[in-house]
């Protein structure tokens, strides 16, 4: 599970069954210091509250399908939480 920033949304009217009603977001994965790292991915919004600009954390593969309310939703990434804050260890404590 890693951090990401929501940079957009995807609308797709023609899509596989099971994906209806699933809100799709474009995520820019972030490294531990919240800098962009890696290619953007499209993820299901399993908490249905994340909007562009927000920092979230997301899961992949089977956990993404489990995160969505339906019994089985064909997704490979899903947002499972919105980050309020990341409390980092002070440099001195390392």
């Amino acid at each position: 599970m890693r951090l990401a920033r929501v940079i957009g949304t995807v609308v797709a009217t023609q899509k596989a069954p099971g994906l209806e009603g699933v809100k799709l977001l474009i995520l820019q994965p972030l490294d531990r210091r919240r800098r962009p790292s890696g290619r953007p991915v499209v993820a299901a919004d399993a908490v249905a509250m994340a909007g562009p600009g927000e920092t979230v954390y997301f899961v992949a593969s089977r956990e993404a399908a489990l995160a969505c309310p339906e019994p089985f939703v064909p997704v490979d990434h899903a947002v499972v939480g919105i980050v309020d804050a990341v409390e980092e260890l002070g440099e001195a404590d390392r």
Partner: protein, 92 residues
Amino acid sequence: MKLGKVVGTVVSTICSPAFSGRRLLLCDLVGPVGDALGGYLIAVDTVGAGAGETVLILDEGNSARQVLAYPEAPVRAVVVGIVDSVELAETP
């Protein structure tokens, strides 16, 4: 399982049910001698690990769901131990 160093916590009020009430630890992945490997994980704490501690991270869904006793949890990374020491016969 992976070795990690707790470098912070993620505070989140809006999240999937499996995460509510659980501490989310931001962990750098480290090698046996404590060297940073570059990657990181957010792992659900199950042993009360504190910041700065070296921990054991289980990074596999089925085991994570068993540890959390939550069959549907969308969780893969779980902190399952606090490392006291690592003895190495040879450096990797």
